[in-house]
Structures are given as C-alpha cells and as structure tokens.
C-alpha cells in the first residue's frame, strides 16, 4: 500500500500537469504577441532595425512654438483624464460596493446583476446615447431648461470624456471591491468598534486596508481601458484626441510601425505604473 505522502504527492503532480495547456497558450498568445509589438516598434516598413519610430514619438512637434513634444502632450492628457476618471470611479464605487456587501444576500444578487446589465449591452451605443444626453441641445440641457437652469456646455469638453469613462468603467470598479468586501469578516468590524474605534476609524484602519486588493484590481480595470480608449473621445470629446486615437489614426494611415511604437511606450508606462501601485499596496498591507 502506498504511503499517504506519495499519494498526495502524486495528486499534486497530476494537478501540476493541468498547467500544460495554459502554459503553451500563454506563451503562444500572450508572450509572443508582445514581441511582435516590440519588433514593429523598432523596425521600419522594410523590416530593418530603426529607432526612428521611437524618436518621433518623443520629439515630434506640430509647431515650433509648442513647449512640449506632441505625443508627450497627448500621453499626458490621456493619463490625466484616465486618472481623474479612476478616482471618481473609486469615490463613487467604493461606498456602493460597501452598500452591496452589507445588503441581504438576495439584494446583493439583484444589485450585482443590475450593475452588470449595462455591460451586456453594447458599449458603442451606450456611448452614443451619452452623446444625445450631453449635447448642447441634448436631454440634459432640456431637463435643466425645464427647471429654469442652464444651459451648460458639456459635450466636447474634458468633462464629457470623463463622464463617458466613469460611466463605461464604473462596474469594473465596483465588482472587485465588492467581492473582497463580501468575504470580509464582520466580527473584525465589531471588534474594532468594541475597542473604541469610531466609524471613520473603522473605515480607515480596518475596512480600507482589508479591501485594498479589490481596490487595486478595480483601479487596474478602470485605469487601463480609460488610458487607451479611442471611441469615447471620438464621440464625446469634440476635437480632442487621446493616445488611443493616435494609435488608431496611425493604423488607418497604414503606419503599423508608428502605431506599434506608441503602443509599446504605452505598454511600458502602464507596466511601471501598475507595478508601483502593487508594490505600495503590498508594502502597506504588510505594515
């Protein structure tokens, strides 16, 4: 008869084997494509090595009197809007996730589905609908007019793009935070209260640190699509262009190498940002 240890070791070995399909898949379709981006970013249309694409991204100016290289400026704008949207999503989504996590199981189920319903409907037409709401002669101003207020000019401004981003990605913030909070042990909160923490203290010292993993993945899931979007800015941003628009325009102008160069830089930037965020979070949760 086999000893207990070998049986469970065998079990572990068999289960490690389950990794094989995913490993192959991940190498073929996750790792290798990244090399294609890098390859195109550092070659010209004749497939010769060049740094020109990269140099262009960092030095191209639309006119001499601009203080900043053009793409650096667009990168800055995209990150600015994405960060603002992410913060607003966090501000709006965090209490909402808390609210769901503390409802009865049945209400939890309903609220989660309700939040996911918009995601099941096409995001292109939802964005289109925002255009109709936010236009100068749109529904928002119509409503304000009835109240004797307004009109306000939103469409074509950065505010409109932020509204679009917050709307499209808010569920991506709520869901991960909720799933962490739902697992939180309520006895911890009670204990903290018993030990004399006030409401804010409980939030700051107990709930917030425990929910950090959810917050991090929420930030991840909102920040990244916001930085790279091109449809939202096209429809709601008036004449404004974001970095996603620039990549798409290069693709449409048959400049795959230029598109890859911008994409490559964006990829590296995001990797750095997310690594920093993760690092700080783990440090804090350890402390």
């Amino acid at each position: 008869m086999k000893s207990k240890n070998t049986v469970s070791a065998q079990h572990g070995f068999l289960q490690r084997m389950l990794l094989t399909p995913y490993s192959i898949w991940a190498i073929l379709f996750i790792v290798v494509p990244l090399f294609f981006i890098a390859f195109y970013a550092f070659t010209d249309s004749q497939m010769h090595f060049t740094l020109d694409n990269m140099r262009k991204v960092f030095t191209y100016r639309t006119s001499q009197d601009r203080s900043m290289p053009y793409y650096v400026m667009v990168f800055g704008r995209s990150f600015k809007l994405a960060v603002i949207s992410t913060l607003i999503c966090l501000l709006l989504g965090y209490p909402f996730a808390y609210r769901i996590a503390h409802a009865s199981p049945r209400v939890q189920g309903v609220l989660i589905t309700v939040i996911m319903i918009p995601m099941w409907m096409n995001f292109l037409i939802r964005t289109y609908a925002w255009m109709v709401i936010l236009q100068d002669k749109g529904i928002l101003n119509g409503g304000l007019g009835l109240l004797g207020l307004g009109p306000i000019h939103v469409i074509g401004t950065e505010t409109a793009v932020i509204i679009g981003m917050v709307y499209d990605y808010l569920p991506y913030m709520i869901l991960p935070i909720y799933s962490v909070m739902a697992k939180m042990d309520n006895r911890l909160l009670e204990a903290a209260r018993d030990l004399g923490c006030n409401g804010f203290g409980v939030l700051r010292r107990v709930i917030w640190p425990l929910s950090l993993p959810g917050v991090i993945s929420g930030v991840n899931m909102v920040l990244i699509p916001s930085v790279s979007t091109f449809y939202i800015s096209q429809k709601l941003g008036g004449k404004m262009k974001l970095i996603g628009d620039e990549i798409e325009e290069k693709y449409a102008n048959f400049d795959f190498n230029g598109a890859a160069a911008i994409a490559f830089i964006m990829m590296v930037l995001l990797l750095v940002v997310m690594a920093l965020l993760q690092h700080r979070a783990t440090k804090r949760s350890v402390a």
Binding site: T62, S63, Y70, Q108, G109, V110, I112, T113, M131, V132, Q135, D136, K137, G138, I155, G156, K235, G238, K239, K241, E249, Y251, A252, N253, F254, D255
Partner: protein
C-alpha cells in the same frame, strides 16, 4: 443571480449550437462580400433583403446552395488594411474610387470577365472608363454621389449660403462641421481654392493645409456619422456631406430646424464600385453576384435604401423609382448626370503615391492637433 446567469449561458449555448447546425449543410458554396456599413438594402420597411434574395435566386437558378458572408467596414483604409494583410479572403469588395486606383496599382484586383456580367449593359457610357479604372477592366460601379453643403436656414442667412466660403464664415464659428477623413476634408479646401485635388505638388497641398488650419478654430467637430444627430437636432448649423444623406437628415429634423442643401461650384464626385480582389476564391460566383446586383429589383432596392445616386440606367429610368424618390431628390441626386464623365474626371479623387499619402496624412494630423 448566478442561477440566472447559468440559465442564460445555457440558453445562449443551445441557441448558438442550433444556429451553427442550421448554417451547415453540404454542397454549399460561400461568397465573402465586404461592403460599407449600412450600404445595402436589408429588408427594412418591406424592401428587398438583397443578400437573402441573392441566396434564394442562386439556389433556384443553379440548384446549389450559396451562403453569403456579408461583412462591413468603416472606411476605405480599414478595408485596405484587412485586405493587404493577406490574412483574409474576400470575393467581392466595394471600395471608393481613389482606393480602387490604389488597389489596381498594387495588383490587388482581378480583371473581370464581363461575359459573366451581362447586366453591365445597364451601366451608362457616362459611368464607364472613369479615371480610376480607365480601361474598364476591374470595376462595376455600385453608387455614385456628390458632396454638398447642408445648412440650417433658421440660423444661417440665405445670403451667406453660397459656395465653399460658408464653411469658413467666421460669423458661424463653432457651428461648422467638417469631414473627419483627410481626403474629403482636403477636398473642401482644394475646391475652395480651385486647386487640383490630385496634385502631386506638395506646395498645392500646403496651400490647402493652410486653408484647413485657418478653418480649424471655427469647426465644432470633425465628424462622420455624428453629423446626422448634430444636424437633425440643431447642434450645428453648417456641414459638408454626401448629397443623399441630406434627405435622411431632413426627414428626421427637429421642429426648430430647417435644413437646406446646395452644391458649391466645384465639388467632389465619388464612385463606389464593386470589384474582385486577388484573394478571391470563386471568381465566377463573385461575377454572378455582381451581375445580380445590377439587375432591376436588387439595384432599385439598394438605390432606394442607400439614397445615393445609382449609375444603373435601369434604376434611374424606372418610373417607380423616380416616384418613390420624389422630384427634389431626383434633381439633387442626379444633377448634371449627362456630364458626369467630364465632371468626374475633373474633380474625382485619384490615388496618390505612397510618399504623397504619407505627406497628406502628416498634414491632416497637423490640422487636427
């Protein structure tokens, strides 16, 4: 909630498996068609569903099942990117003139065998041998159109509504919409300045660029499909677009909006034509499809749906069609049809060299930044 979703997933799965099975069948040939979005009669308002009708007609005539895979693209450049990647195989594509010229130059199109397209006789002499395909070897025109100016008469003074200047009129700053594609946008400036739209002299393009840059502060937005919403509700007052689409907007305009239309003196004539790309798998079938699209019923249905002018004489000579469209639409859509060839060859877009294309997209990028 989870139960609900699992129920949904199962239902979707069953449905899709069912659909898959129903789509299969032996002895079926497939035809891959690539066209603009919303650019074929699709069976709305009791009209003909052209693709379905072709499938039925083909089965009846040739006693063989055909499955048309009909997919759509957003721009000529999109279509070109997919085709030139070599990773797709389409049998029929319907791009615009300048893109056709580019594709012919790059050997991306097959010469047609007109023996299989007897209905080509329906195409008037005026629409044959146009600049983009001078020897009439590769293309069969599908629609044509003219670019014009649409304005809201409740905002714009009648006196100002003349020529290209309206698009540059500072009085209407912030109310003007310009094309969001380089070729059409540069065209407006070039016609305004009476430049050759196919000039290979960079200095000419620089002039047009200056003009567009001058216009930029006045422009509310660079648009394609957003134009419909914005003009219908009065969000903008002046726009430049394709003639037939004006009628779509008028039909849906708000009560306080009064849209009007006119052609400036020089303007763009464009043709979208059916062609067979070199990746085609079944040329004969593709030609049969093209021929079918030229026959009376589908051609009229398409022309009524798309609302652009048709180069097909069976269409524009049909009393039913003329009645359906109405006198105003016929006048605007088919303006100067007798002189089409001359006008087109003077004002239509041709292909540019890759170097020029790069230069143009650089200029366009500068306009918008």
């Amino acid at each position: 909630m989870k139960k609900l979703l699992s129920v949904l997933l199962c239902a979707a799965m069953l449905l899709s498996v069912g659909w898959m099975l129903s789509a299969c069948g032996d002895n079926t040939v497939t035809l891959n068609v690539y066209n603009w979005g919303e650019y074929i009669s699709d069976g709305s308002e009791g009209s003909l569903d052209t693709v379905k009708a072709f499938e039925a007609w083909y089965q009846e005539t040739y006693n063989q099942k055909v499955k048309v895979n009909y997919t759509t693209f957003a721009s000529n450049e999109d279509m070109y990117n997919k085709l030139s990647s070599g990773a797709v195989s389409y049998d029929v594509v319907i791009p615009s003139d300048y893109m056709i010229a580019k594709m012919i130059e790059e050997n991306m199109l097959l010469p047609l065998n007109f023996d299989n397209i007897p209905n080509y006789a329906n195409i008037d002499e005026n629409f044959r041998g146009l600049n983009y395909d001078p020897d009439n070897k590769y293309t069969v025109p599908y629609t044509y159109g003219v670019v014009g100016i649409i304005y809201n008469a409740n905002v714009v003074d009648e006196a100002d509504a003349q020529g290209w200047d309206l698009l540059w009129n500072e009085k209407y700053s912030g109310q003007i919409l310009q094309f969001n594609n380089p070729r059409d946008a540069f065209g407006t400036a070039q016609y305004k300045l009476d430049l050759n739209v196919n000039s290979t002299d960079k200095a000419d393009w620089d002039l047009a660029y200056e003009e567009l840059k001058k216009q930029e502060p006045l422009v509310q937005k660079y648009v394609m499909d957003e134009i419909y919403n914005m003009m219908e509700i009065g969000e903008a007052a002046i726009a430049v677009y394709y003639a037939g689409d004006y009628f779509t907007m008028v039909d849906a305009q708000a009560e306080d909006v009064d849209l009007r239309f006119y052609y400036p003196d020089r303007t763009n004539y464009f043709v979208d034509a059916m062609c067979i790309p070199s990746c085609c798998k079944n040329q004969k079938l593709a030609e049969i499809f093209i021929n079918y699209m030229l026959s009376e019923e589908p051609a009229i249905a398409n022309a009524e749906y798309i609302y652009y002018a048709s180069p097909n004489s069976v269409v524009y000579n049909s009393p039913d069609y003329q009645e359906e469209m109405g006198e105003e639409a016929m006048d605007i859509l088919y303006m100067d049809v007798a002189n089409f060839k001359t006008l087109y060859n003077q004002y239509g877009f041709l292909n540019q060299s890759n170097e020029m294309l790069e230069y143009i997209s650089e200029l366009w990028h500068k306009v918008r930044s």
